[in-house]
């Protein structure tokens, strides 16, 4: 599997939830392949299984059956410890509500994955400042989340997702809590990062406009992939 260019490959992926006597099929056999360095948007109606798929690919949730490979690791069978180090060292998460630690300064939030990985404080600070510079918040390193706007907070969260130099960034409705202008800035930032750093980005959204920033759009319905469209980008859209 490792020889192809695809970073993510799922086969017959199922995730069922038992709710009393009812069985909910959040994922009803998902076969998906995502190539390295692409920006993929995951769209679909509410309850179609977008977040579930994202969580399984991110090693936060385990499939009920089927396989999910990220690079050379099959997450369904990997031991818990493997999943922890996978999340810590290879994945970056971006959440709808930013989820920054309120007591930590911006740079400390950015450096959290590095702290968990046991890096030294001075190394963390340097890397965090560098990343904050990249997301345009070089002058806010010592601010606490409460002192930042929503857009700024989400950019700190993006910097945090980049801190461990991940192969994969997973974002669940990253613009859901932002107004359209700020949302656009964030999307452009994400787009730029994918392009410049060759990172793979999987973004859940139900906003088609947001999805249009991606290279590919995966449509889901009832726990299945309905359609995959590839966006042909013209030169002016990039600018």
């Amino acid at each position: 599997m490792g020889q192809s260019t695809s970073l993510i490959r799922t086969t017959k992926l199922q995730r069922t939830y038992q709710m009393g006597k009812n069985t909910v099929q959040a994922l009803a056999g998902v076969d998906l392949e995502i190539e390295r360095g692409t920006f993929v948007a995951l769209v679909g109606p509410s309850g179609s299984g977008k977040s579930t798929l994202l969580n399984v690919i991110g090693g936060l949730d385990r499939p009920s059956s089927g396989e999910v490979w990220v690079s050379d690791l099959e997450l369904g069978q990997a031991p818990d410890k493997k999943l922890v180090s996978f999340r810590r060292d290879r994945v970056g998460f971006i959440f709808q509500s930013f989820n920054l630690l309120p007591t930590n300064q911006a740079w400390e939030n950015v450096a959290l994955p590095l702290m968990l990985a046991g890096r030294s404080r001075s190394e963390r600070r340097k890397r965090a400042e560098n990343l904050l510079e990249q997301v345009g918040l070089g002058d806010r390193a010592d601010h606490r989340p409460a002192e930042l706007s929503g857009g700024q907070q989400q950019r700190v969260a993006i910097a945090r997702a980049l801190a461990n130099d991940p192969v994969l960034i997973l974002a669940d409705e990253p613009t859901g809590n932002l107004d359209s202008r700020t949302g656009r800035d964030v999307l452009l930032l994400l787009q730029r990062l994918v392009r410049e750093q060759n990172v793979t980005l999987l973004m859940v959204t139900h906003d088609m406009n947001a999805a249009s920033y991606a290279d590919r759009i995966v449509h889901m319905r009832d726990g299945k992939i309905e359609q995959i469209e590839t966006i042909e980008r013209t030169a002016e859209a990039v600018a």
């Binding site: 969580n55 991110g58 936060l60 949730d61 818990d80 410890k81 922890v84 180090s85 999340r87 810590r88 060292d89 970056g92 998460f93 959440f95 989820n99 630690l101 309120p102 007591t103 930590n104 959290l112 994955p113 702290m115 968990l116 990985a117 046991g118 404080r121 945090r160 461990n164």
Partner: protein, 420 residues
């Protein structure tokens, strides 16, 4: 996560809810404070008593003869003695290795009437007793000093009288002129026979009683005359002997040996052993009061931690999503709980120390006012108590944190992230 990172993170989480953190650790403070105050009192009092006993000298052994079984028909006759502290015995003991001194003591019964007579111009007469001179200072009284001359007679025919006797004779002003003067003790039996004994006054002691001090031989002479028993010393021996051993071990051996010889032996050590047993019980009881407070504090910390974990569920979810292991989360919350306990312990220790110091001052002022010659700290914090207080605080916190931390570590990250 390094230890420094964990401490720093725990600290910033605790300081974000300063009031709650302080109130929670206050529970530990109360418990540790109680334990520190109680134990430092127990330890302090025990130490003060120990010091008093040390002043007496634990190496002193008091030997008494043993009276034979009493015959019910001879109730009014003085009991026979089974073993006698004879002058020969005294000499034998003096010959033993590691014995510093042996002092024979004679107890001239209070009921034997004696009058101290000052002949000559300043003639005066008062009733007195004879000081048996056990030679062990009562720790609760100021040790006597010699106002003039010496404190105890050293040769037969010498006498030391007390300050009070002097006052009652009306001679206070001329203390020093009295040394070397002749005085007499006059004894009178109920039958009306009387006998006077001559002495040279060699000292005035500061004690405030009616006693005069004589040498053992002179005391024996008084008794021998009273009971009309010229060879009283041979028959009954001395009433006590004070043996001063070189050290405690020698005293202990001597005690067993003398008991085997059927002497009655009191050693201060026996008393001290009993005292320390009593103190152990008291310490345990007082310590339990603090223990109860700590139990309550443990529940308080647990409650606070569970609340904190509930409030921070999303944070925990976030941390887990970005790669925190269960161990990281558990360590983090255990550290927070441990720190609450640790602060409580330190503050409780400082509080207990401060209150102990204040009470020491108060006690000292009281003792000085009452003229009790005991000094020393009644509240004393030995190094082990510092360790115990801080360690206990920490342990209480960690124990209280066990369950909440395990709960936090077990949280499902997806559910935690969805938590409002």
């Amino acid at each position: 996560m390094t230890f420094g990172d964990i401490l720093r993170t725990a600290w910033s989480n605790l300081t974000r809810r300063k009031v709650r953190t302080s109130l929670t650790s206050l529970g530990v403070t109360v418990g540790i404070f109680t334990i520190v105050v109680m134990l430092s009192l127990g330890v302090g009092v025990q130490r003060v008593i120990q010091q008093q006993f040390d002043a007496i000298g634990l190496e002193n052994v008091v030997v008494q003869p043993r009276d034979a079984e009493r015959n019910p028909y001879t109730r009014y006759v003085r009991p026979e003695r089974e073993v006698v502290i004879s002058p020969a015995k005294i000499a034998e003991w003096q010959q033993m290795d590691d014995i510093v001194s042996v002092t024979p003591i004679v107890d001239v019964n209070e009921s034997i009437s004696k009058r101290l007579v000052l002949p000559g111009d300043a003639a005066a007469t008062i009733a007195v007793g004879v000081d048996p001179g056990i030679g062990i200072n009562n720790p609760f009284e100021t040790p006597p000093t010699a106002l003039a001359g010496v404190l105890r007679p050293t040769k037969d025919g010498e006498i030391v009288i007390s300050q009070r006797a002097l006052r009652r004779l009306g001679l206070t002003a001329e203390v020093n002129n009295l040394i070397g003067q002749k005085v007499q003790l006059v004894m009178e039996t109920p039958r009306g026979e009387s006998q006077s004994f001559d002495y040279t006054l060699v000292g005035v002691s500061s004690v405030d009683n009616n006693l005069v001090a004589l040498t053992p031989n002179d005391s024996i002479a008084l008794k021998a005359w009273w009971f009309n028993e010229p060879d009283l010393l041979d028959k009954e021996g001395y009433d006590y002997a004070l043996i001063r051993a070189k050290d405690l071990n020698v005293a202990r051996q001597l005690t067993t040996q003398l008991r085997a010889e059927r002497f009655r032996v009191q050693s201060v050590e026996t008393v001290l052993e009993l005292a320390s047993k009593i103190f152990l019980v008291i310490n345990i009881m007082l310590g339990s009061v603090g223990g109860l407070a700590l139990f309550v504090a443990t529940i308080g910390i647990m409650n606070t931690m569970i609340m904190a974990i509930y409030e921070r569920t999303r944070e925990i979810g976030t941390l887990k999503a970005i790669g925190a292991s269960r161990g990281n989360i558990r360590t983090l919350f255990m550290t927070e709980a441990g720190l609450i306990g640790l602060f409580g312990g330190i503050v409780g220790l400082l509080g207990g120390w401060g209150v102990g110091r204040i009470l020491n001052r108060v006690a000292l002022a009281y003792l000085e006012r009452e003229e009790v010659p005991i000094r020393g700290d009644f509240f004393y914090i030995p190094p082990w108590l510092i360790g115990l207080a801080i360690g206990f605080g920490l342990v209480v916190g960690i124990v209280a944190g066990l369950y909440p931390a395990a709960r936090a570590a077990r949280l499902d990250p997806i559910k935690a992230l969805r938590h409002e």
